[in-house]
């Protein structure tokens, strides 16, 4: 085994190694060593950056040569995963330290990290699919971590199943590409020569659907809100920074294969999702719910970026989003932890019970503020830069479209900008409702002002705050293409961007963001009517607000589908028991064949096979009964009748 392979394996296995090692120590504190392993991972990734690509290939089965590779794109993402993961591991120690299942928790978390790393490093579509599924699986395990809670385990199941549907499509795409087009290398995707273009479109579409599933795009986005049932650090890692971006990663890699139509679909779905989720985020009462929908919305942006052809912008947004959203989630985790400690009686995640927490949780507040700003796309944050990149690309793309498609392009663009307006509204709403004003519930225990005693909370939050401001990612404050890693990742020359458009977009997004913040402040400032009544606000299930709050009722659609599914299954079983079994058992097959042979099948189909079978068998039964007559003369009669029948049949 060469050193490259060793390196890759090591890089992949570090997290699980850490978790296993710490599991052997009885003390809970041993889990503090896990972040250190991650730091090794970060360092290794950094060190290897200039030596890529390295890869390892091995024969798996049949004609499939699996491979893993480290190239420029994924080494960056590996580093990202390690960074976020190390912070989450660190944060989790505080968050989970009283939980009896902490061993299980860390193992699962490490398993997830490994799967995610594998997904990034996989250099064969099949292997990518393998890790894709494993990521989903480990996410299932983590969401259902508190399995004793029926609802949480149900959420985990739903999450997995929704993903599974998309994965099935992905599998079709993978098989088509691997087996039909012989495209399997992830790191080096080329348009296959020849082949059926329609089939290629189909394959691309299937990949896109797979990506939509994992990245919680329309119509699959419903699962992400359910996934919030898991421990909050998990949400930070999985549902903000890493797993959900896998779809973006996949499409970014396979963009060369995607047919224009598919690109259009991706863009459309991305924009629509950004909008839909943005609206829904406005109406959430659950602190994580807001973040969940905002994540969906941001993922929509990334998809939009892919769809309009600028996957670089999407990757940039992926990077920045990972930081600020992880920050937001961890901050939310901190809030929830606090609420949980402070008052056992109330729902620790419901914003209706919060308010004025900035005094209790200053670090958290700062994190929320900065990361929220980044999410909103306020200037001086990383989010501003990356979001602007995507919007810019969208505008450029829309301008270039042919007149027939222009309306589509402009509506996609419009949706993108509108979502940019929504984001600051819900972010400010959340910050105002959680950290400002008065506490809307009674704390049973006075925990003092500062409830962030440990380093395992402060360090992650601060690092993420650091990652969310502009200088950590870019040289220029407003330069959407100034990402520090840009040149490393995409060595080619930057495409020229018309200055004027760039300015329009810059100002437009600045304006929209400002308006958004303003609206948010006006509506939800401490003391406003809405906030005063917020504690008691209950959204009626059937109102339009309820519709939005429940994510445009996507769950109900799933429910209907699920009912249909169950109905089908019950029907199948009914058929199995009542029809197949009986027909096959009761020699119905014979009857059917006879009927078919004599060409009267159709007739009996109309009359009902059941009637036919019934009369057939009762007739047969009667004949048999006659044939077994107990009286001797009847027996003689039977024999004679048969003889006469024979006679007249054969002799005439």
């Amino acid at each position: 085994m060469d050193s490259g392979a060793l390196y890759i394996i090591l890089l992949m296995m570090l997290p699980i190694l850490a978790a296993v090692i710490s599991t052997f120590f009885p003390a809970r504190e041993s889990y503090m060593i896990t972040p250190m392993f991650h730091v090794i991972g970060i360092v290794s990734a950094y060190l290897v950056m200039d030596y890529v690509p390295i890869d390892v290939r091995w024969h798996w089965v049949a004609n499939i040569e699996l491979g893993m590779t480290l190239d420029r794109l994924n080494v960056v993402l590996v580093a990202l995963v390690y960074i976020i993961s190390s912070l989450v591991h660190l944060f989790s120690f505080h968050y989970m330290k009283d939980d009896p299942g902490i061993k299980r928790y860390y193992l699962k978390l490490a398993f997830f990290t490994v799967s995610m790393l594998g997904l990034l490093m996989a250099d064969h579509l099949v292997l990518l699919f393998v890790f894709w599924e494993l990521v989903g699986f480990s996410s299932y395990l983590l969401i259902g971590f508190w399995f004793k809670d029926k609802e949480k385990s149900t959420s985990a199941r739903h999450t997995f199943m929704i993903n599974r549907v998309a994965d099935a499509a992905l599998l079709i795409g993978v098989i088509l590409l691997v087996a039909v087009f012989d495209v399997s290398k992830v790191s080096d995707v080329k348009l296959p020569e020849g082949g059926n273009p329609a089939l290629l479109t189909l394959a691309g579409l299937m990949l896109a659907i797979g990506a939509f599933g994992k990245s919680a795009q329309f119509p699959f986005y419903g699962w992400l809100n359910k996934a919030m049932a898991g421990p909050t650090p998990v949400s930070a890692l999985i549902h903000a920074a890493t797993m959900v971006t896998a779809g973006v990663y996949l499409l970014a890699r396979f963009q060369p294969l995607l047919a224009p139509n598919v690109m259009m679909v991706v863009g459309l779905v991305g924009a629509a999702t950004a909008l839909i989720a943005g609206v829904s985020a406005l109406f959430q009462n659950d602190i994580k719910g807001v973040l969940a929908y905002s994540t969906i919305s941001q993922l929509g942006y990334m998809m939009l970026g892919i769809g309009v052809g600028d996957y670089k912008a999407s990757i940039f947004h992926l990077w920045t989003h990972a930081f600020f959203k992880a920050g937001l989630f961890l901050a939310a985790g901190s809030v929830i932890h606090f609420m949980h400690k402070a008052n056992h009686g109330v729902d620790a995640q419901d914003m209706r019970n919060m308010g004025g927490l900035r005094k209790h949780l200053p670090f958290t507040f700062v994190t929320f503020l900065v990361c929220g700003a980044a999410l909103s796309g306020l200037p001086f944050t990383s989010g501003f830069l990356s979001k602007e990149g995507i919007l810019l690309a969208t505008v450029l793309w829309a301008n270039k479209l042919s007149p027939e498609q222009a309306w589509m392009g402009y509506s996609i663009m419009g949706a993108g900008f509108f979502a940019a307006l929504l984001t600051p509204i819900y972010v400010s709403r959340q910050i105002l409702l959680v950290f400002f004003g008065r506490v809307r519930t009674v704390f049973q225990i006075n925990l003092g002002k500062k409830f962030e005693p440990t380093i395992s909370v402060i360090v992650p939050l601060m690092v993420l705050v650091g990652g969310s401001v502009w200088f950590s990612v870019s040289k220029g404050i407003f330069d959407a293409h100034g990402w520090r890693l840009h040149r490393y990742l995409f060595p080619g020359r930057l495409t020229g961007i018309p200055e004027d458009i760039s300015y329009y977009v810059f100002f437009a997004s600045l304006l929209l963001t400002s308006i958004g913040v303003l609206i948010g402040y006006i509506l939800f400032r401490p003391g406003s009517k809405k906030v005063a009544m917020y504690k008691e606000s209950n959204i009626l299930p059937n109102s339009i607000k309820g519709f939005w709050q429940e994510g445009w009722y996507v769950d109900r659609v799933y429910g209907v589908l699920n009912q249909g599914f169950l109905w089908t299954s019950n029907f199948t079983f009914w058929v199995d028991k009542q029809v197949v079994d009986k027909v096959v058992n009761g020699l119905g097959v014979g009857a059917v064949i006879i009927a078919k042979v004599t060409g009267v099948f159709d007739k009996y189909i109309i009359d009902g096979l059941v009637n036919f079978a019934a009369s057939f068998f009762s007739g047969l039964g009667n004949v048999l009964k006659r044939l077994q007559a107990p009286l001797v003369q009847a027996q003689v009669a039977i024999a004679m009748v048969v003889v006469i029948v024979f006679m007249f049949w054969f002799l005439f």
Binding site: L631, Q633, A634, A637, M640, V641, I644, M647, F648, L651
Partner: protein, 164 residues
């Protein structure tokens, strides 16, 4: 010419009692009708130059079997039977079988050919038959002897054993 008349007379003697037998309810009378019919048959055998057969018919059938049957009827007839005919279904089927068979046979006979035999000798049939019994049909002769023994032993054993 005379023989023709005789044949039709004897045929009637055979057939009419049979029709009576179909409809009668009395077993004894029916057995006697049967006897008449047997005698008619014997006469027909005579017409056919089968003297031995006619004799056997009278001796064994009319003399032996009918007596045996009457004996059986007497032995078992202590209670009155409710009816003579079987149930409705059975009678209908019987009638159909009767008609079908008859129609078929009659039409068949009318169309039938007949084997061609070299020549026909009529004289001294009994002597010839006697020789045949001990030459060509020796096996059959011995077999029938054994068969009668079996019938005898069997019937006797059945009757005897059931006494106990």
């Amino acid at each position: 010419m005379n023989l023709d008349v005789l044949f039709f007379g004897f045929a009637a003697m055979v057939a009419l009692p049979l029709i009576y037998m179909i409809f009668t309810r009395n077993i004894i009378r029916s057995v006697f009708a049967f006897t008449i019919s047997l005698l008619g048959l014997a006469a027909i055998y005579v017409l056919l130059n089968a003297d031995l057969m006619a004799v056997v018919q009278i001796l064994i059938y009319a003399g032996g079997i009918v007596v045996l049957l009457i004996f059986g009827v007497m032995l078992t007839k202590r209670t009155r039977e409710a009816g003579v005919f079987t149930d409705h279904h059975q009678v209908v089927i019987g009638g159909l079988v009767f008609i079908g068979m008859l129609v078929f046979l009659v039409s068949g006979i009318l169309k039938a050919g007949q084997a061609e035999w070299a020549g026909v000798e009529f004289e001294n049939q009994i002597a010839k038959v006697g020789v045949l019994y001990l030459t060509d049909h020796l096996v059959a002769f011995e077999l029938v002897a054994f068969l009668l023994l079996v019938a005898l032993v069997g019937a006797a054993f059945l009757a005897k054993k059931s006494d106990h």
